[in-house]
Amino acid sequence: MITTGSKYCFGIAGLGSLGALIYMILINPSDVGVLALLGIAIAMSIVGGVTQFTGDFDADTVSDAITVSASAPANSMWPLLLALGGVLLLVGMTTNPIIFLLGIVVIVAAGIEWALQSWAERASEDSAFNRFVRERALTSLELPLLAGGAVAVIAIAFSRIMLAVSPENGAIIFIVVATAVLAVGFLIAVKTNLKKTSITAVCVLGAVALLVSGGIAGQSGNREQLVSAAAEEHYSHKDCEETASKYFDKNSEKTVSMKSGILATIRVKDGKLSAQLIGLDAPVATVTVARSNQATILFRNLDDEEHRLVANLGVKKVGETGVVEKIVDCTQMTGKNQTQALLLKINKPSASSGPYTFTVPGLEGQEIALVVP
């Protein structure tokens, strides 16, 4: 007799071979697809043979293994939600990736809930106990997720408000709201005889106020200052001068934790400029950067004065005006023992408008050659 387990295997093997045959005739006899299908067929024949040979997987033992739960499943909303998730998935595919993601989230959540519910329903004969195990398994999941969602909503709404109002008003709002939260919390803690409904009412009120003002603030956009700073590129326009600039140098990072992907390190020590390639100990006078590829140069300042590293990347003509403009890139002002990374992507070889160099404003007469072959 052919056992149940091996029947499946032989069935798949047969289908695989048939599929391979059709593939060979219809598509391409020497395609990898044929190889894959034949591979499946061969693997399944072997597994089927072994199961058959060892007499495993008898029909009796399979039916023995299934113990049917006596109680019928309880009402559940999860199948419905699962279906909704499927719909969202399909709709999202054709409209909006966010709806698609929502569909995935709903499907995963409903799937987990449903699976755990039906597992809990079979846990014992006692339905009260079953509910208990379900809750114990699920609250550990639900609680942190819901709390995380709540925190995200609070953070987003509050940050919209703070970005919309002026810094002075922002400070006042912050103080008032924080004081109010503290006061209410204090009240609840001291007055133990407060009604549950009134506490809920206060919380709901606060939540609604936050959401509504957050929504309004989000609609009205950032405050004027931030909008104009973005428009005038205060934060991306690089002033590569010797002195610190008002915007670009404002919030320079103190450290760089980059370990891989660094091409060279350029240092200032005792007023001397030096460069070192990663992997080579001796200092070099020239740094080579392959064209059209991102390269990261670390700049480390070991002196007391602040310095910045400037990459001089030749010149370009501005439109048809004939005006020639220098192309430069630079790090922010770097204090003593601090490190900054300079990310370069140079598309034109140094032969085009070179020579290219690295310099440090204030250290006149010193440079490291930068060659783009």
């Binding site: 072994v50 040979f53 060892t54 007499g55 495993d56 891989s260 992907g261 660094i262 091409l263 390639l277 990663i278 992997g279 080579l280 100990d281 070099v284 006078a285 020239t286 740094v287 080579t288 392959a290 064209r291 059209s292 590829n293 991102q294 598309n347 034109k348 070889p349 032969a351 085009s352 050659a369 060659v371 072959p373």
Partner: protein
């Protein structure tokens, strides 16, 4: 592909299996034994340049030492385990016998079966860790080369440095063939311009991924002069299989000669020659992707290639010294005829340097391959270089497109390219 002998194993298998099939009278057992024997013997192929069991440099030797320890150990364990499984399957199969006595646990057996593998693994572990640290060593490096992968070829640039007393005063840039001095600890600093690739010259070291945005270090060192073949080992798209590379090791004196030549700019072809006409075609058709150092436009200014505007990776091979390498397009095709190729690959270590430095002489130039490439490159090496489908790759080619050149333009170009020594 043009590299006869690069993949002899599969070829051998195919012909011998074909033979077996045609002699249909052999019974099954004999066929099985023969097939196994063929597979086994194929492992002993003589002309197998990518054999990991034939190290030709220090790092590969370290790996080889390790695999001579781990492989036999793992082999013995593997064979023993499978033999035991087979025996148990056979001996205790279901013959309708009564279920035997069931017992739980056997401390003596369990402890033995924990201690023996632990001992084996610690032996393997000690040697493995030693190997890892040996391979990771970079602090005694004598030379660095930047290696950049892109679909589907490798670019090498040699930063300015002094190697064994030879000064590389201006960075060198080349493609496909990596030229290194023998007995020198060379550090490759690998990265990529598009997708992940992996650099592997089996005779010199293991593989190391080239990842965009990162620099991974790989050390190579070759004992003797010669060519060592390898290929990209991280699937990187359509022509991954055609993304090969070769490391060429030269005696330090020969290496100095090579460096001196690579630092020269391209010579201007003679007035009114076919090559000069070819230069004109090159300036029209090819300069938008390929740089030739020293090449000037008609107005006397430097001709600067713009692969960043035309190729997805932003790079195309620098052709200044095309004829100094004897393969092209990701070392996938020969730039020399098969006779000349044989002379180079079979040259003794003493003669190799001279044979390689001769470059591609007019006599050796593989006109068939070069012309085929210029006529229709994507037909020779699959590439995403169809002008009608540029929208799917940001308006840029991945590879070299078919430029629909006329045969007379191809004649001129071949004459011009031959001057790029």
């Amino acid at each position: 592909m043009s590299h006869e002998g690069t993949l002899p194993v599969s070829k051998q298998n195919m012909t011998i299996f074909g033979g077996v099939k045609s002699q249909g009278r052999l019974n099954r057992k004999k066929t099985a034994v023969m097939a196994f024997g063929v597979l086994f013997m194929a492992g002993c192929a003589r002309d197998a340049p990518q054999d990991t069991w034939q190290p030709k440099g220090e790092n590969a030797s370290n790996i080889n030492t390790l695999q001579w320890i781990v492989f036999p150990l793992a082999g013995v364990v593997g064979v023993a385990v499978f033999a035991l499984i087979g025996f148990v399957l056979w001996r205790y199969r279901d013959k309708g016998q009564a279920i035997p006595h069931q017992s739980h646990g056997n401390p003596a057996v369990e402890i033995t079966l924990t201690i023996i593998p632990a001992l084996i693994l610690s032996v393997v572990g000690v040697f493995t860790f030693r190997g890892i640290f040996q391979l990771a060593q970079t602090n005694d490096t004598q030379m660095v080369i930047n290696v950049t992968g892109q679909q589907w070829w490798w670019e090498y640039d040699y930063p300015a440095q002094v190697v064994n007393g030879v000064e590389i005063s201006q960075p060198i840039i080349t493609a496909g063939q990596l030229v290194i001095p023998t007995d020198t600890k060379v550090l490759l600093r690998e990265t990529s311009r598009d997708v992940i690739h992996s650099y592997w010259i089996p005779a010199l070291n293991g593989k190391k991924d080239a990842v965009p945005g990162r620099i991974n270090l790989l050390r190579l060192q070759a004992y003797k002069p010669g060519i060592y073949a390898g290929q990209c080992t991280e699937f990187c798209g359509l022509s991954h299989a055609n993304m090969r590379m070769e490391a060429v090791a030269l005696e330090p004196a020969d290496f100095a000669t090579w460096v001196a030549n690579q630092q020269r700019n391209a010579q201007q072809p003679a007035q009114a020659s076919l090559a000069q006409e070819g230069e004109g075609v090159f300036l029209n058709q090819c300069i938008r992707c390929h740089q030739v150092n020293g090449l000037k436009k008609a107005d006397g200014t430097a001709a600067i290639a713009a692969p960043d505007e035309n190729v997805y990776s932003g790079a195309a091979p620098n052709l200044t010294h095309l004829m100094s390498r004897n393969t092209f397009a990701g070392a996938a095709f020969d730039l020399v005829t098969s006779d000349c190729r044989k002379n180079i690959w079979t040259a003794s270590p003493e003669q190799f340097g001279a044979a390689y430095l001769e470059g591609v002489s007019p006599k050796c130039l593989n006109q068939t391959n070069l012309r085929r490439w210029l006529r229709n490159a994507p037909e020779m090496k699959p590439m995403y270089a169809d002008p009608t489908k540029l929208a799917s790759s940001d308006g840029k080619y991945r590879g070299m497109p078919n430029l629909n050149l006329s045969e007379s333009d191809i004649d001129k170009l071949v004459a011009y390219l031959s001057t790029l020594k």
